[in-house]
Each structure stands twice: as C-alpha cells, then as structure tokens.
Amino acid sequence: MIINNIIRNNSLFIKGFLISGFLSLFMLVSNFGFSQTAEDEKNFQVCKACHTIGGGKLVGPDLLGVNEKRDEAWLISFIQNSTAMIEAGDPIAIEVFNENNKIPMPPNALTDDQVRGLLLYIASGGKIEGGELTASPETENVEDMDLKTAEETTKLIAEMKRDGQRNMSYVFIVLAILFLISLFDLVIIKIVKAKWIHYIIMLTSVVIIGEIVFVEATGLGRQQYYQPDQPVWFSHKVHADQNQIDCKYCHFTADRSMHAGIPPVATCMNCHAQVKEGKKTGTKEIAKIHAAFENNEPIEWVKVYNLPDHVYFNHAQHVNVGKVDCAQCHGEVEKMDEIIQIPDLSMGWCIECHRTESVQFTTNKFYDQYTKLHEKLKKGEMPNVTVQNIGGDECAKCHY
C-alpha cells in the first residue's frame, strides 16, 4: 500500500510536471525550466497551511483562479510581503485583509520568478492536485469526516496499546504458584493420584513462563506503542490530515540531516502568528506556543521515537536517498492526534526492511559503481537490488 502511495504520488507528480511544462511552453515564459514545478510544489507547502486550490476557504481564501482575479505584479508583491502593502495602503490588499478577518499573511522570502512559478502552479494546480480535488468534498464537510476517522483511530490506537502493554505479570504469578503446588503434591502430600496431571500442569506452566520471560526480556529497553503526554496538545491529525501540511514542512531537516528535526517554535509561528484558535482545543494550547515564543524558551517536547545511542540512524539517507515514505516507519501519523510509536525499533525490524526493500539502484547515479550488481540485474539474475545486497545488514552501517 505504501508502494502504491509512492507510485501514485509519482504519477501525479509527473502529470503535473508535464502539464505545467506545456503551459509554460504555451505561455512562452522563457525562464521557466521543467524543473520549476518541483520547486513550486515545495514552495506551495507553505501556502497549504492556510490556502487550498479549489478546496474552499481555510484560514486564507481559496486560490482557485486567483491568477485571473488579480494581476501578476500585484500578486507577486502581495505574496512576497502582504503586510508591507497593507501598511502602504494598497486598497485591494486592505480589502483582502479585511475579508479574511484581519489575519495577515506572513512575508515569504521568494524571488519574483519563484512567485511566478508558484502562480503557474496554482493555475495548473486544480488539475495537478486531481487526487485532492476529488478529496476536496471531504475537506468541505470536515466535521463528520472527522468523526469517522476519529472513531477508527481511537480503535486502532486502543488495540495497539492493548497488545502493547501485554501485562503478563498475573499470568506469570498464577502459573508459578500452580507449578509449585503440583510439585509439592507430586513429591510430598500426594492428594492427586494420577501423576500425569502434575506433569502436564508443570510442563505447560514452564513453557508459558519461559515464553513470558523471553518476550519481556527482549522487550527490555524497548518502548513500542510509547505515547507520552506532550507539553503541548499538538494534533498531527489536524495538521497533517485536515490541513494537509506536508511532514517536511515542519520536520524540514528530514531530507538533509540525520535528525528529522523538531520544528523550532518560529516555524509554528509562521501560521500561528495568525491562527490563534484551534478546532479542538481552542486557544488553550496555541497560547502555549505564543508564550514559549515570547519568553523564548523552547518547548520541551517528549521524544517518542528513541533509538539506543549505539545506533546511528540518518533520516536523509532514508527519506531523501531511499525515498522511503514517512509512514513506512512512523505509521499513519495523520490519523493520530498524539504520536504513538508504531514499530518496536528492534534491530530485527530494521534488518527485515533492509532485506526486502530495494534501493534506488537505477535512478541514483551513486550506485553506478556497483558494476557486478548491475550486470546481474541486467541478466535478470536478481529481480531487484535490496539494501542487503549492497551490505545493508552489516554492523558498521549503523553501529560506529
């Protein structure tokens, strides 16, 4: 299913890619290379926080057909720095400002060309984001949609927790007592004559106790289904699912660094400078952000995904190079209000994926130097090159 996602996204991406390409040709805007769209899509992530394309009004107005409504020059300057324009007393700007209950749009550090690209993207946006257009009715009646997802999510997490915190201590004690009793009876008091009963009881209890001990021992130092309370009640569902904010908008170092990065408060402020009230928690939680921001003391989030220190994990390697979907490790975050640790983060879990998942062997030029493997691949001796094939299950790949 994850694979499908990737494919779908790619196909969408490519579609939009072509369309915008044609458009740009059609519009004979010379300085638009094909590569622009990709960048624009990235830039648009910021806008997504408050705007949709034909998805109806969020914080800011729906951008569908904005290009027709306003002339380019105005748009450019407005997008680059709206507040400045308002202060300057531009009538349209002020009007827009008032329309959207006086929430200013934060200034964006974009060049004119970038803005043009962005506009182009918006213009073609309806078609590119076809997937999302069809999804747009959902966003219109968010509420009941919400309820549905809410139910299943709560169910999901509930059961996760159930088998997460398998509390076997009672079973353990009971069995231990049973064992002792039967032993006692067998050797000394001999109430039960049929000896096989003793044996069966003892055997089974030994087996089960052994299992418990083993599982608990391996679980030692792991924290699967760990869901701590965070200092701020931050809902990934609201942000990632309803507002459709891309993961990498907040966790923006995920494709550059080993750390995905907890977003600095400043990032929150990009939107929450304006958005002062949340659907579920009202002002209460968002106020915390503002507080943290004013007294500039960073918020102490509780880390959920903790790897032991002797493991070196690099997000860039997986997200950027390996093109691994966030959900593959972190689960369907957009369904969770508060984050819960889905995998057990055991070495076996890593290895498993490294054995099965194939690397970007043909697309990434880095792998060209693996000539032998390429031959094999060509000859069809192997269907695909997994991480293991290039030594992905070796110690020094993660432990150093």
């Binding site: 391996t218 057990d344 055991s346 070495m347 076996g348 290895i351 299950d393």
Partner: protein, 458 residues
C-alpha cells in the same frame, strides 16, 4: 584354568561383600573428623577471597588484572586450561581403562570422576569471569533473538569451547551419577538414620537391583562410556584449538591437539595420584587402593611423561625446521633461552624429567616420594600452560608492541577461589558420597590379575 604366572589380587585382605559395603560406608557414618573441618575452613576462606576477586573484576573491570594491549590473556586462561586438564582424569579412568579392560580402575574411578566434575566446575568459572562484559555473556549462545536474528560465529574456537565444555560436564556428570545409583540404594537399605534413608532413598531413584535393571544399567553405562570416550580426545583438542587456530607464533602449531590431550591426561592422572594417596591415608583404604594401584598409575605417568618430553622436542624441531623467524624466535630466543627461561625449564623438568624417577621400583613403592612427584607434575603442567599463553603473546610479531605480563592480586584471588571450590567439592564428596564404587568393587572382588603392579608385591 592353569597359569604358571603369579596372580595378584586387586582388592587385598580377601573381603566379603558386606565387608566392602561396610568399609566404604564407614567414614560416612563416622563422626566428622577434625581434618575435615580444618580443610573446609581453609577451602571456604579461599573461596571467599575468590569471591572478592570476582566482585572486584566485575565491578571495576578487567583492568584490575595484569593484562595489557599485547597480552590479553593471562592467568584466567592458563588456569582454565589447567583445570580442564585435571578434569580429564575421571573420563580417562572410567573410559580408557574400561576400554583397556583394566579392572583395577574400579576402586579409583569414582573418586576420579568426582574430581573431574569439580575440576570442570572450577575451569568453567574462568571463561565467565574473563569476559569484559559478563552481563552480556548470553550473547554467546545461538538463541533466537530480535536482532535479525543475529547468530554467533561458529568459526570461533571459543564457541567450540563453550559447546565442548558444557557437553563434557554434562556427560561426565550423568555418567558419574548413574554409576552411583546402586550405591545410593545400598546406603538407603543399610543406613539406620531416618534422614539419610530419606535423602539417599530419593537420590537412589528407587533402585532395585534385579536382573533387568542391572542389564539396562550395564548397557547404559557402556553406551554413555562409549559416547564420552571421544570427548576425552575432543574436549582438550578443542581447547588446544583456542591456540592452534590462531596466528600467534608458538600457538599456531599442528601438534597441539594430541599434545594437549596427552598433557591433560598426564595432569589428570597426576592429580588422581595426589588425591588417592590422600584418600587412602585418611580412610585407610589401603586394601582397595593398594600400592599396586598407585604403582600402576605411576607406570602410566612414566610413559606419558616420555610422550610429553618428545612433544616438547618436536615443537622445538618444527620451529627450527620450519625456518620461520617468528617461530624460531618464540621457541629458541624466548623460551629455551631469553626472558621466559625459568617457566620453560621448570615445565620441562617437572613434566619430562622428574616423572622418569618412576623407572625405579624403590621410588614407585615409596608413597611419600610418589606423592611429591605427583605434586611436581601438577605444577609442571601449570607452567606448561603459562609458557604457552604468556610467552607467545608477550613477544609476538611486531617488536614495538612487545609487553610483559605479571598477574595481580585479583587474578591470584580468583585462582585460589577456584582451588577452594575444588577442594571443598572434593572433601564434600569424601564426606557424603561413597568414595569407592561399591557395586563395581564387589564385581571384581574375586578377580585376580597378572599385572606387574599387583603381582610384584610380596
């Protein structure tokens, strides 16, 4: 049957069957002798010191030992190999002499096997304690895990060790215990004390002693013996591979397996000799462990010591013949002459020269001398391991890294602790377990032999 040759008896003072039982069981019913308390006290205090050594090592680190970047193995391994060697006596007796149809073994093998058990216990402690991270020691077992699962390196002699030693211990223990069952039954039926009846009754597993049980007993004993027989060879061969498999000059030697096995049996017999002399002195078992027995062991030792001697010579020869400068250095410049002369020569003298005195009947018959020589053998075998482990490591390939090694108090403590454990085990055995296999002795009670050791005496 007619035979011109003089026939000696294995058990002297023509005992009756019940006399045998009584003689063997007497010390168990007799009040605790004084020497027992004294020895126990010494042994236990040694063990306590050993516990301190363990504690010190585990809490502070291997750094409390005298090891360094070049000599990463020291006393721990020396003593380990030494104990394992001693631990070979039991099986050697029970199996080899069984196969060689040496009936006279019957009055010794019980004690010998007991010795094996405790020696192997003592040995087993060293691999544990010498681990840097003992709390992760379970990594060494190839169990199913959530690391991939990640298994062990089956090329490693250390892994072979783990397997071999645990097997050896299990096998010897089972063999030993099964052998004791009929005797426990004897105690069960003959003792007067209620408690003993209960305990030994439980330990005798409800032994009857009718024809079929004897049949199965004999077969089982034979099978277990047969299974354990290759162990006598394999265990110490594998231990020797710890060294033989490596690249270090003086370790990387093909002669090691046979040489170690012989050495093991040598030290084992040496220790048996020591123990039996003590035992028969304390328990007046002269009729069971006769001078003939000691004489026989002495003769065997003489023979083995010859083998040892030749092994040492062959080592030197190979070193010279190989023309490998590193080998040459280790043997000629480092052992025969050079820094470790003392260790080397005391090894050579104790193992190859001194036992040769057994050629003289006078010495063989003089129990005190025999005792002393047996002690020398034990010491000599310890030095052999010292020579192998330390001399090779401390001056190996790259002169820049050469370093010397000397043990610390902690290592000493650990060693003495294991000795304490061994002694304690042995005297506990003396005290609570029939030290001589009653039923087996009975079966050979009327046997005679033409063995020189037993006939030569007047």
């Amino acid at each position: 049957m007619y035979n011109t040759r003089v026939r000696g008896v294995l058990i002297k003072g023509d005992k009756s069957y019940s006399q045998v039982s009584r003689d063997v069981l007497r010390p168990m019913d007799a009040p605790m002798p004084k020497w027992w308390y004294v020895t126990a006290f010494i042994a236990i205090s040694a063990m306590i010191w050993g516990v301190w050594g363990f504690y010190n090592t585990i809490t502070t680190g291997i750094g409390t030992w005298g090891l360094n970047n070049n000599v990463a193995w020291g006393w721990a391994i020396i003593n380990f190999v030494w104990w394992i060697g001693i631990g070979h006596a039991g099986t050697a007796f029970s199996i080899f002499l069984l196969i060689l149809r040496q009936k006279w073994r019957t009055s010794i093998n019980r004690a010998a096997e007991a010795m094996t058990i405790f020696a192997v216990m003592a040995a087993g402690l060293f691999p544990l304690i010498h681990m840097g991270r003992i709390w992760d020691g379970f990594f060494i077992f190839p169990y199913w895990n959530t690391r991939g699962p990640l298994w062990d390196n089956f090329n490693s002699p250390l892994f072979w060790d783990v397997v071999a030693i645990s097997t050896y211990f299990t096998a010897s223990f089972v063999f030993w215990y099964i052998g004791m069952i009929p005797d426990f039954a004897t105690i069960r039926e003959t003792t007067v004390s209620k408690v003993k009846k209960k305990i030994y009754g439980a330990m005798s597993f409800g032994w009857l002693g009718n024809a079929r049980s004897w049949l199965r007993f004999e077969t089982a004993a034979l099978l277990l013996g047969g299974l354990a027989a290759p162990l006598v060879v394999s265990v110490h061969s594998i231990v020797s591979m710890d060294f033989a498999v490596s690249v270090i000059p003086g370790w990387h030697t093909t002669i090691f397996p046979p040489y170690f096995v012989i050495g093991a049996i040598f030290s084992g017999f040496g220790m048996v000799l020591t123990l039996m002399i003590v035992l028969r002195k304390l328990y007046k078992f002269n009729d069971y462990v006769t001078d003939g027995h000691l004489d026989a062991i002495a003769r065997i030792l003489t023979f083995i010591s010859l083998i040892m001697g030749s092994a040492y010579l062959i080592e030197l020869f190979t070193a010279w013949y190989s023309g490998n400068e590193y080998e040459l250095f280790t043997f000629m410049k480092n052992r025969v002459t050079g820094e470790y002369t003392f260790a080397y020569w005391s090894m050579l003298i104790c193992n190859a020269i001194i036992p040769q005195f057994f050629w003289f009947k006078k010495i063989r018959k003089n129990i005190t001398l025999v005792f002393i020589i047996s002690i020398f053998i034990n010491i000599g075998m310890w030095f052999e391991r010292y020579v192998i482990v330390v001399t090779s490591l401390s001056r190996d390939f790259i002169p820049a890294t050469w370093a010397t090694y000397s043990p610390t108090w902690t290592e000493l403590a650990v060693f003495s602790g294991t000795i304490g454990l061994f002694v304690m085990g042995v005297i506990a055995f003396f005290r609570w377990i029939p030290t001589i296999a009653i039923s087996e002795v009975k079966s050979v009670l009327k046997e005679t032999t033409t063995l020189k050791s037993f006939t030569d005496e007047d």
